[in-house]
Symmetry: C2
Subunit: 449 residues, 2 copies
């Protein structure tokens, strides 16, 4: 039986696997986590609207009825393209070999700090469930700290939130931090007025929501400002540290903004697997680490290997879920065509547009010629997001979460873990435990020697 | 205005605060986390039935309408009983002083490993949200590892689960691991049969559910065995390490059980604040670190200081939520009586019995003379738990979660975080980040010097 290995259970990998459901192939889908992440809603986990389970169901559960798929939780470490074999690492560190006949690599992208990885300490990105939970602890924790603070300057620092990057993700998280502070939290605090929190959105370009066209971008910006978000375009981040951000404005002047909580939604960096593929095949790799693919998404000299989604580059396609899905489907179709003795066809992208929820009941939607905003845009946003969420129950409970948050004034997921609450870095938190672990393993060595 | 400080937002602290809602007092409630934890349902977070938000709503949200309460997220570090002042630490490490006229200490209890803290590395307890999320990652991750494992012995190790302690918590988590493996997971895996997982429940006593009386305990045990849980009474844990447990059986023989996943539900240790109170007032402290209180829950020589719930000892009262609630209410009543110039009255416990859910549709309930089991017991369990859950929306969404899990075969919260998935201890996970953090703070020092 023809063996297809798929790396990554995101939109690209999942849609590739599903397209093979009736094919006479054996599929192995490898992912380093157990979940299919609905990345476009991560900001709702970070702001307490949804739980992680609602946007990250187990891949093996999503694919449970597709009997030709085996799901493996392991991290791919390298390729042996000549012998058609992957090497991977399981969570206990032990190795694993996965042979294949066709390979679809859909490993996505992480955050890029444009050469300033030290920013990541103070400004987490928005790419994984871990990121979203970390941000949730920081955002909600900032209000807790402000409530305890006596010094008005420090209180202001805790009540200032900076979002870097004015694409859909940046706009959505800025909008939700603003709604959290203005609609949800005011009743709960005694000393501070959460509604006075500042939310600043910095973008290097001349406008936010650049891909949406001037009119829609303008509407989005106005709605965001109505919520109280301060938009600073033409502003480049020059430094980020514990207590604030330094920003170079359009005039070249550098301003310091004191803010304890920072969110990074600015750049992406393809999975390191993209560069490995480029090196192994001689394909180009761009500045964002994306590997250039052939017109059918395969790699030069390796028609059996495909790279799809955020980790590949092809004629200026945007880094959106829709590209990953369509390419995943295309790669699987190409494999099926080959098995049927047919020629592969080039990938053609059907642009279904883009959308961003600015606030409750307001979204901007650019769909073919259609441009929607306001409540109509929001309803479209709602329908599309529900359609792409996986699982009936997740859909039902997500509607619940939205009802609580958008019609009501609640946020059902406001738990800060003990680790986050104590402001302990994980390293301090488990220091004691690590000490024990070391003692225990020394004890085990002694016994066996 | 008379100032009441309450330490802890669990059942004791929360009910104490509520009892003061119409009193002419200023209440400060201090907790190291932001949530009121519904501890009796922690095992459902650990087994993917509920999200953390559903059982751990923010204390300040629960008390939002009670205007005489201020909630502060800080960890109490010490008492100055002479000057009626608490010292606490905020999450950024800075100090905080809280003066009071009356003090209610309701800091609860953590897990006790009976002098073997090294077990905690391999067998987390069930006391905090962090514990439950850690266990969720381990329990679900064990099936992932088994699916990848080729060696049948190692596969068996991954598919063996040990629960230590046969009280309600141990019974409930053992039952839910069994239902997870038999009802939920089988469809999702290809190589292993999750239903063959072994779940062992060890208890040192002669029967599990000891407090429920022979008949009910026997019914609980039979139901658990019907689910496939192996109950080993008269068994004392002699050692726990990475790959298993050593158990001393009733005959004195030591057996080794190979099991990767262990849960500790055996002993409790009162909050360290109990010992501090004992030392400051000369009160007794028992082996579990609980401070002995006067008949009105106050401390000797300090009628203005109360200790309630799991951290105090009083004539053999059990460590259950009901005691904490009633004592919290009693302490607040005593404060009100004093303000009205009345004499304090001794605390009298109204025993409302105890209950444990053994499996879906089956619970054992001991309520006054009444002893229920089976579906009737389960309905009673359901009603009581819904009644004590906080918040209408939490109740509604919890019914949803139960419907999915008990009528359906789903578990809506199966996400394993990246940190857990990669089997990285937090220390490795953020190693890179810590390195950066160090560099960054060195840089900051250089600049300022």
């Amino acid at each position: 039986m023809h063996r297809v290995a798929i790396i990554g259970g995101g939109f690209g990998g999942l849609f590739a696997a599903r397209m093979l459901r009736r094919a006479a192939v054996e599929v192995t889908l490898v992912d380093r986590t157990n979940y299919h992440l609905f990345q476009p809603l991560l900001y709702q986990v970070a702001t307490g609207i949804l739980s992680e389970g609602q946007i990250a169901p187990p891949i093996r559960n999503v694919l449970r009825r597709q009997k030709n798929v085996t799901v493996e939780m392991a991290e791919v470490a390298g390729f042996d393209l000549a012998n058609r074999r992957l090497s991977a690492k399981r969570s206990d560190g032990s190795g694993l070999q996965i042979p294949y006949d066709s390979l679809i690599v859909a490993a996505g992208a992480g955050q890029s700090y444009f050469g300033h990885d030290e920013y990541s300490v103070w400004a987490p990105g928005m790419k994984t469930i871990d990121d979203a939970l970390e941000l949730r602890g920081r955002i909600l924790g900032a209000f807790e700290m402000a409530e305890l603070e006596q010094d008005p300057d420090l209180q202001r620092e805790w009540l200032t939130f900076v979002v870097v990057g004015g694409g859909p993700t940046g706009v959505e998280i800025a909008g939700q931090i603003a709604e959290l502070s203005r609609r949800v939290l005011p009743r709960d605090f005694r000393r501070i007025e959460p509604g006075t929190a500042r939310v600043l959105l910095f973008d290097g370009g001349s406008e936010i929501l650049a891909g949406f066209g001037d009119r829609l971008a303008g509407k989005g910006a106005r709605e965001l400002e109505r919520l109280g978000v301060e938009i600073r375009t033409g502003s480049l981040v020059a430094d980020i540290d514990r207590t604030g951000v330094e920003v170079k404005g359009p005039g070249g002047d550098v301003e310091r903004v004191a803010a304890r909580t920072k969110v990074w939604a600015a750049g992406v960096q393809a999975s390191p697997l993209a560069r490995m593929l480029a090196e192994a095949t001689g394909a180009e790799c761009d500045r964002a680490g994306r590997v250039a693919v052939e017109p059918d998404c395969s790699l030069p000299g390796h028609p059996e290997v495909f790279a799809v989604g955020d980790m590949m580059s092809m004629g200026g396609l945007p880094g959106v879920a829709e590209v990953a899905m369509q390419q995943g489907i295309h790669a699987s179709r190409t494999i099926k065509r080959r098995l049927d003795g047919k020629e592969p066809q080039p990938f053609r992208y059907r642009d279904l547009g883009s959308m961003a929820m600015v606030s409750r009941f307001r979204a901007v939607v650019s769909f073919k010629g259609l441009r929607l905003s306001g409540i109509l845009g929001w309803l479209m946003w709602l329908l599309v997001h529900l359609a792409f969420l996986t699982g009936t129950w997740n859909r039902v409970t997500t509607i619940f979460g939205w009802t609580v948050s958008f019609i009501g004034r609640g946020r059902s997921q406001r738990t800060i873990t003990l680790q986050q609450a104590m402001g302990r870095t994980a390293i301090e938190q488990i220091g004691g435990r690590e000490e024990l672990r070391r003692k225990v393993s020394e004890g085990e060595r002694d016994r066996s020697s």
